[in-house]
Chain length 145, copies 2
DNA sequence: ACCGAAACGACAGCATCCTGTCAATCGTCG
DNA sequence: CGACGATTGACAGGATGCTGTCGTTTCGGT
C-alpha cells in the first residue's frame, strides 16, 4: 500500500540523513576555529537564552541525557559554561553559559551567518521558509503521537 | 548582515538536526525487530539496487569510508552481504546484498511503509514533495560549491 | 612506458551517542 | 503525612562515526 505521500516521507528521510551528515561536517568546520565542535555548539546554543538542566538540553535536541552530560562537563571544565544551583530541584543543577561561552558562540554564529546568507541566496528564502513550515509540521506530527 | 533567507537557513539547520535525532531513534525501532540498526540499514539500502564499493556507499550517505567499512564487515560476517571481486578495481571489492540481507531489508521496509503512510497522511503529500524539492536544491547547492 | 596524483582498504586512536542500571530527588495521589 | 511513580545525575559498557597514517592499486599526463 504505497501512496505519493508515503513515498514523499521516505524521500524526506533520505534527505534528512544526507543533509545531517553534510551539516555536521560544515558545522564542525565553522566551530573548529573557536575550538569547539558541532556537539558543543548544540549545548551552548541551547543554554544561550536561559540556563537549562542537562536533561532539558537533551530533550531539546532529541539526545540521551548521558550524551549531553559528558559534553556539559567538558564545557564547564573549559570555562564555557557553569553549573549553578537549581532552586526548584536540588540534584538537577542548571547549566548556565559563561561570558567565554557566549563569546565562542558569537564567533561561530558570525561564520554561520555568512554561510547561511550565501546558501539562502542560492536556494531562495521563500522556498526555505515553506520547507521549514513543513518540517515543523513533521516534527510536531512525530512528537504528538 | 541578516536577511530572511539567511534566517531561514539557520532555522532549517536546527530542524534537520532535530529531525535526524528523531528519525535515527525511529529507524532503530523499525530495524530492531530484524536484528538491524539504522547504520546497517543505510548500508543495505545503498547496495539494494546494485553492488557498490565501501567508498561508494560512504559517499552516498556522506560518511567516512572507515565508518562504512566496519559496518560492511559486520554485515558480511552476519551473512547479509558479501564481498565479490570488482572487475574494474582489484583491491576495491564490491559489496553485494545477499538473499538474507534482502529479506531483512524487506522486513524493515514493510514497517517503514506503514509509518510513512501514516505520517504522510497527517502532513500532506503536496507539502512534503515541495519540501523534498527544496531540500534537494539545498543538497545540490552545498555539494556543487 | 613512466611517473605522480588520486582512490582504496587496513589499522589505530579518539569523539560522540546509546542502553542499562542505580540511588537521590521531586511531584502527585491517597 | 506517607507511598508511589517520574525525573535526574552518575557510572559502566557498547555501538557508531571521525581523523590520521600506511601501503597498494588505478588513472591521467608526459
Amino acid at each position: 500500500m504505497r501512496s505519493p505521500a508515503g513515498d514523499a516521507v521516505s524521500e524526506l528521510v533520505v534527505h534528512v540523513f544526507r543533509l545531517n551528515g553534510l551539516l555536521l561536517a560544515l558545522g564542525d568546520q565553522m566551530a573548529e576555529p573557536s575550538g569547539q565542535t558541532s556537539a558543543r555548539w548544540r549545548v551552548l546554543a541551547a543554554i544561550d537564552d536561559a540556563p537549562l538542566t542537562v536533561a532539558q538540553v537533551a530533550r531539546a535536541w532529541w539526545l540521551a541525557r548521558q550524551s549531553v552530560q559528558r559534553i556539559a562537563d567538558v564545557l564547564v571544565e573549559d570555562g564555557l559554561a557553569a553549573y549553578e544551583p537549581n532552586p526548584s530541584h536540588r540534584r538537577a543543577q542548571l547549566l548556565r553559559i559563561t561570558p567565554a561561552g557566549r563569546a565562542a558562540l558569537r564567533e561561530i554564529r558570525g561564520r554561520q551567518v555568512a554561510w547561511a546568507e550565501d546558501l539562502g541566496g542560492r536556494v531562495g528564502g521563500a522556498d526555505l521558509q515553506a520547507a521549514n513550515a513543513t518540517l515543523a509540521r513533521v516534527l510536531e506530527a512525530l512528537t504528538s503521537s
